[in-house]
Amino acid sequence: MSQTRFTKDHEWIKVDGNVGTVGITEFAQGQLGDIVFVEVPPAGKAVKAGGEAAVVESVKAASEVYSPVSGTVKEGNSALPDAPETVNSDPRGKGWFFKIELSDVKELDGLMDQAAYDKFVAELS
């Protein structure tokens, strides 16, 4: 059974067992506008929850993508650097950034579920 959680920095993580797939939310891609550059982490990179893991840039803004959880990167989405617009068109699908092996599944408890995140975003605008 997979579950999806969200951060206040507008990342999502979809977890199956102890492997999660991370990306940015629909709201985040909308705020950035046309995405022109993406840098994904290499496999094997160790990251901490809240630590910088990837980079996403539009013409006028640059932003770090923070890892929602601690663990080891299993794979960066190698298709993204050549097609960064995928993050705009399919942020929750083909626009994923990296897959991570979680070192502590309990960290997910500190993140928001879909309902809580929707409420969080509604309050922002």
Partner: protein, 510 residues
Amino acid sequence: MTMPTTASGNRGLQLEQGLIFELNTPGMTAVDLPTAPKVTERLGDMKNSQAIGLPGLSEPDVVRHYTRLSQKNYSIDSGFYPLGSCTMKHNPRLNEKMARLPGFADIHPFQPVSTVLGALELIDTCAAWLKDLTGMAAVAMSPAAGAHGELCGLMCIKSAHEANGQSHRKTILVPESAHGTNPATAALCGYAVEAIPANAEGRVDVAALKAHLRPEIAAVMITNPNTCGLFERDCIDIAKAVHDAGAYFYMDGANYNAIVGRLRIADLGVDAMHINLHKTFSTPHGGGGPGAGPTVLSAKLAPFAPVPMVVKVGERYDAEEHAGFGAAKQSYGRMKGYHGQFGVFVRAVSYMMAMGIDGLRQASGDAVLNANYLLARLSEELTPAFDGPCMHEAVFDDRFLKGTGVTTLDIAKALIDEGVHPPTMYFPLVVHGALLMEPTETESKATLDGFIESLLHLARKAKSGTAEADFKAAPMYSPRRRLDETKAARKPILRWLPPADGNGAKQAAE
């Protein structure tokens, strides 16, 4: 009426012009040179055996090329350029004439000092004006631009802390409304950066700033007048608190044009401030530079100033070019080649002399008057971000566009069709959808009235709710319409390359 297309792509005086690489006549040159004497080459094995790939053009073609390019630019010579933060004032041609005097232009940085005493005098004259205007103890003349001057100031500060056993101070406080150069400079000088919030009236939150002051703080960088166009009323209080905490007060002088000739920044408790000669002192921006950023220093920081420095031995000028010697005993070193932006100094001195202290004071008065006039008149339809009076620039937010579908960017692009250069957009970051306007003292009332009429018209048109499509389509009358910046960034093309089947140089794109 739709515009007819032309076979050439030209539109009357708007002439299309290809790249020089597309105008290539192989072997052509616009420069005739004397015949070289016959010699035996001494190039060792470093003689180039391959073509470079530069195009050949004749002199008339080159003159036409750049003339046509120039006609695609807006400039202060041609019209109103209220670009906030940039101080686009008139650039007197007298400055250019003076900088081209052979005694200034045709001198080498390493001639014997005895043959360039007039050049050292010129640098010292520029320094003397800046010191008198600011009341500061010293001025470092080598910084090449504003950001370089910031670096100079922070390097002096870091050196002073080190000399005083204060190396543990590793953080710089910067208001969140600051220019990007402030945090970037702090990082380049090896410092961490902490942001200080602004208060509701657009000024530094003094209480928050004081709360951030602690033994790790090396300095505070504050732009004054600030990027919201307001004077930091509490700056003397801020300076005192900063000094009491053992830190230094760096004032960013980007907006010095508002206060020049009115007060001396030394009296505010400032330890260092750069002065953009290409803003306040009328030297041309040249499409992006060169500038010069002399940095005035308090007595506490002066010993650490970079080399070279002009010194006086009796009545005779000399240059101290080496750190660790003479006047530069404690200097942190060199941060630029040669003697600084000498040609820019000549232009600035030419302006200072022409204006005089009375003229400079009148200029800051007129600059502030012009900005307040815009603030007052435009408030009829636009929404000012803060209460006045402002200093030399007026900032509006985008509340007046709420619900219209028209954005700050659209207003800016529509202003292009009105024949003026748009104000700075979306800066300062603390103002939503900001339009930052700096008219400078250069503008007549008639120019301002024309601009006001255009902008009020656009604001009313936006609010009418019927013209969103018109705004999105603007500009219509410029040499190019809106350019696709996303495309440019996704697949960057940063240079010309010969066509794949062409006969140009091919070594380039490996």
